[in-house]
Amino acid sequence: MKPLRTIAVGFDGSDDSKAAVRWAFEMASQVDSDVVLVHAVGLLERARIEEVTAELRETVRRLTGESGFDHARVRLHVANGDPCSVLLRAKDAPLEADLIVVGSRGQGEHAGLLLGSTSLQLAEHSSIPVVVVPSQHADG
């Protein structure tokens, strides 16, 4: 198996996505890899993208600090698109991720909806491994 150099984590600021980030930091510490937090910018969010990016940066800083993971190995990647497509592209340049980590539910995702779920869509379409971190890991 090829070494995990870069782990991409879906990150929308929701509790589930924070749980996924924490899991990715733990994993990255063990296998000595970088972590890229990937945020997808939708049609509506674009209007306040600067504000959103600033908030996300702050959250990333806080999560990194709390976990004790090396700040220098964490990046925030903000890209246009829906979360699923943006994460599917994480395997390509410039990120070249080897693994995708997501929370079980993204922000605004409806609990009853299976086909709309980013994690299931990723599992179906991704050509690199996908880890879905269960909701129980979310603790705010």
Partner: protein
């Protein structure tokens, strides 16, 4: 002659504060009224797409789930996309409207159709709603036409890439998908290297444009990059994903088109139709109501041989270089695709 679809009550598909709202259809209808068409305006019967028509482009499981989601009261499908209790019914009328409009064009063997529907459709994937779209309206009509042996050109001049339409027809040799769109922008797909699947190599054509691009650049993109491919393909029908969010006043993007530019694009689309009665436009985006009204009127007027043009065409923006590069990248991608041993690639 202009054919429009019969009015569907779409007021049940709305979410307070959301830009994809019923007022958009009101603005479009005001634009049509500005043309004073009189008896040249024909209304096609209201029609709800059947399951068989929808499953040509959508997975049955997705349709069931969307139906159930709405039945249970609806909600947010993702950060951008909502559905209400009434959306399932409204979306099926939106998906059927094109079929009805095409039937009317065929009966009369004349005219141009404008399918005034919402929710829009070009982001909707086979198995997923996204980007304000639930069902892929233009794809439902295109798939019906190809099932009858037609060859369909889809021109998508909405400011966003029509990722849903592209992926639905990715491997279909009877559909040529041509899109101009701002780059980078949602949904993030639509590079010139996306050229279609093995059975439809070269039948996806993407021309991304930089923020600030004006109408002359879009015209150049169609003229230089798309026209030769369209002529070689030889469509028997032309469908247009007519979004008007590339207008300079639209809040969703940064292209600088005017209503006069849409008139020019309308003229070009008209020129690609093999004969009268073989061209239908579908409303996609367009969120500034005044820009929408003026742009719809200008587009339809030019197609019908009129002169209504509230703003002159724009020029001088960036993007010429990007169009040139897109052509080069596409040629490279086509060459590389040819070098892949086909039988090896077909092994499943």
């Amino acid at each position: 002659m202009l054919v429009i679809n019969g009015p569907t009550d779409d007021s049940g598909h709305q979410d307070p504060g959301h830009p994809e709202r019923p007022d958009r259809v009101t603005a479009v209808m005001a634009g049509i009224a500005d043309l004073h068409l009189g008896s040249d305006l024909v209304v096609a019967p209201e029609y709800s797409a059947t399951r068989a028509e929808l499953t040509r482009v959508h997975e049955g499981g997705y349709l069931d789930e969307l139906d159930m989601f709405c039945y249970e009261g609806g909600g947010d499908l993702d950060e951008d996309t909502y559905a209400t209790y009434k959306s399932w019914s409204i979306a099926r009328f939106a998906a059927g409207a094109g079929i009805s409009a095409v039937d009317t064009l065929r009966q009369r063997n004349d005219g141009v159709a404008f399918v005034v529907t919402r929710p829009p459709g070009h982001h909707a994937l086979r198995d997923r709603a996204m980007g304000f779209c639930l069902l892929n309206n233009i794809a439902v009509t295109a798939a019906k036409l190809t099932s009858e042996g037609e060859r369909v050109l889809i021109i998508d001049w909405d400011v966003h890439h029509g990722n849903g339409t592209q992926s639905i027809f990715w491997n279909d040799p009877n559909v040529l998908y041509v899109s101009t769109h701002q780059w980078p922008l949602f949904p993030g797909s639509g590079t010139p290297r996306e050229i279609g699947g093995l059975d439809a190599m070269g039948l996806t054509l993407n021309i991304p444009l930089p923020p600030g691009a004006t109408g002359d650049v879009v015209r150049q993109a169609i003229d230089e990059a798309a026209t030769p491919v369209i002529e070689k393909f030889g469509p028997t029908w032309v469908l247009v994903s007519a979004g008007f969010d590339a207008h300079r006043d639209d809040p969703m993007a940064d292209l600088k088109l005017t209503s006069g530019d849409f008139a020019e694009l309308g003229r070009m689309a008209f020129g690609f139709a093999p004969r009268p009665g073989r061209l239908a436009l579908f409303l996609e985006g367009g969120y500034d109501l005044a820009a929408l009204q003026g742009s719809v009127a200008a587009t339809l007027s030019s197609m019908l041989g009129g002169e209504y043009q509230p703003e002159s065409p724009s020029s001088g923006g960036p993007g010429s270089e990007m169009v040139f590069r897109a052509r080069a990248e596409r040629v490279l991608a086509l060459r590389q695709a040819e070098e892949v041993p086909t039988d090896q690639d077909r092994v499943i």
